[in-house]
């Protein structure tokens, strides 16, 4: 037994993949080979250690099997692009103003009116500037929040609108399918049934004609065959008669010859 066979047998024994007969024989052999038995016991210890490994609870399977719901990716891209455009407009200080009956679109800083000359005053205290800046910042933050909220509302509204549109399309499709079904059942089906019936009648008639034709042909053939057989039989009879006469003549001739001698 080579090394690989010996290892294979050992593994079969260790994992109970041996027939009863083989196991008994192997155990008898092990009795004579204590070193191999020792090796098997060591393997068994390894197995006991391995059995100590706990089974872990897997985290949920992340394979996406459910159909996608919610806002589609395309709409998210569109919303993102729209938000980017609005942000850019805001950053460049885009304005729409009406002036003397017309609409003015402008970018950049607004044209300031010529400042009225002011009287020189003392420098504004730092605290006042800080307060002014803080107020301004707060105002801007509020505006941003309001924009954000407005966008969220618009997104939700768009989503709702999409859902509604989708529902309408689905309903419309269902209605159209039902209409087609109804039309088919009421109009097309009777027409098809009529056609089928007509086709059936035509086929029956054709079959009958074929049968008659076949019968006639068969009758003719039969008559011809009978006549042929009759003719053959007559010929045969005549042949037999002729042969008989010839034979009789030969016999008479033979008798006469014998008697003459």
């Amino acid at each position: 037994m080579n090394n690989v066979d010996r290892q294979a047998q050992m593994m079969d024994y260790l994992y109970g993949e041996m027939t009863d007969q083989d196991r008994r024989e192997y155990e008898l052999w092990l009795d004579q080979n204590p070193s191999v038995r020792q090796e098997i016991e060591e393997m068994q210890t390894s197995r006991q250690w391995l059995a100590d490994v706990e089974t872990v609870q897997p985290s949920p399977l992340l394979v996406e099997l459910k159909p996608q719901t919610g806002i589609s990716r395309a709409w998210l891209y569109r919303a993102g692009a729209a938000a980017a455009v609005l942000l850019a407009l805001w950053m460049f200080n885009f304005q729409i103003r009406t002036d003397q009956g017309g609409v003015i679109l402008s970018f950049g800083n607004p044209v300031l009116q010529q400042p009225q000359p002011v009287e020189e005053t003392d420098a504004i205290p730092a605290a006042v500037w800080e307060k002014f800046l803080a107020e301004h910042q707060q105002k801007l933050e509020q505006q941003l929040l309001s924009m954000d909220s407005s966008w969220q509302n618009r997104m939700v509204a768009m989503q709702k609108e999409n859902k509604h549109q989708w529902q309408l399309i689905t309903n419309n499709q269902a209605h159209q399918v039902a209409q087609v079904k109804k039309e088919f059942t009421e109009q097309e089906l009777p027409r098809l049934a009529g056609l089928m019936q007509q086709l059936q009648i035509e086929q029956q008639e054709e079959l009958q004609l074929l049968l008659v034709e076949f019968w006639n042909t068969w009758q003719e053939t039969r008559q011809t065959d009978l006549e042929h057989i009759d003719f053959q039989m007559t010929n045969l009879y005549e042949d037999v008669e002729r042969n008989q006469q010839a034979s009789e003549a030969r016999v008479v001739n033979y008798i006469q010859n014998v008697a003459g001698r």
């Binding site: 690989v4 294979a8 994992y15 391995l50 609870q57 399977l61």
Partner: protein
């Protein structure tokens, strides 16, 4: 005769999403645990499970014989393990072996306090130390309880090669765990 499992596979093949979910739910813990024992890493186990089931979902309609599902699933999982292991070895120069360093200078007594979790951790760490081809056979045999014939089919090897790898794997495990002084007397007090 068609078993309920085979019926489930057939339904999943025909596009029944609920059957597919049920089928995956049934096999996912086994694949996950196999990968976890292979890598001793929950994130990698999750990656392997994910990749395996994505591959299975993609190719399920092409499976002709539902009886071959189990072998096919494990073959896919083990291939994913190999791929991830190769990628990991490329990026990681050395494995984390802190827990497996032989502690010859320490007294034996601390090991008596090892609880089941700790023993489990050590054994799994030891598994990471043996060669990949021995580890995968041990995982499939010890934890998945597959027959030698099935493992041979999955790994596309001869049965004798599988047995030989298992033999050397068990020997290597014993050597490693003995180096850690994880004696059975201490383990099974």
């Amino acid at each position: 005769m068609e078993t309920p499992d085979h019926k489930l596979i057939r339904q999943a093949q025909s596009g029944n999403r609920s059957a597919l979910n049920q089928l995956f739910g049934q096999w996912y813990p086994r694949v996950y645990n196999m990968a976890f024992r292979y890598f001793h890493d929950e994130d990698l186990a999750a990656d392997v499970s994910q990749q395996t089931f994505v591959a299975i979902q993609k190719s399920l309609p092409q499976l002709r014989d539902p009886q071959a599902f189990k072998s096919w699933l494990f073959r896919t999982a083990i291939n994913c393990c190999h791929t991830l292991a190769r990628r990991r070895h490329r990026h990681q120069a050395s494995m984390e072996v802190i827990s497996l360093q032989p502690k010859r200078d320490q007294p034996v007594t601390p090991y008596q306090e090892l609880d089941r979790k700790e023993r489990s951790r050590i054994v799994l760490a030891a598994l990471q130390e043996i060669p990949e081809e021995q580890r995968e056979v041990i995982v499939m045999k010890e934890y998945e309880g597959l027959k030698f014939r099935e493992i041979a089919e999955i790994l596309q090897l001869s049965e004798n090669t599988v047995k030989s790898r298992l033999y050397y794997g068990l020997k290597a495990m014993r050597k490693l765990l003995e180096d850690c002084r994880l004696h059975k007397d201490l383990l099974y007090e």
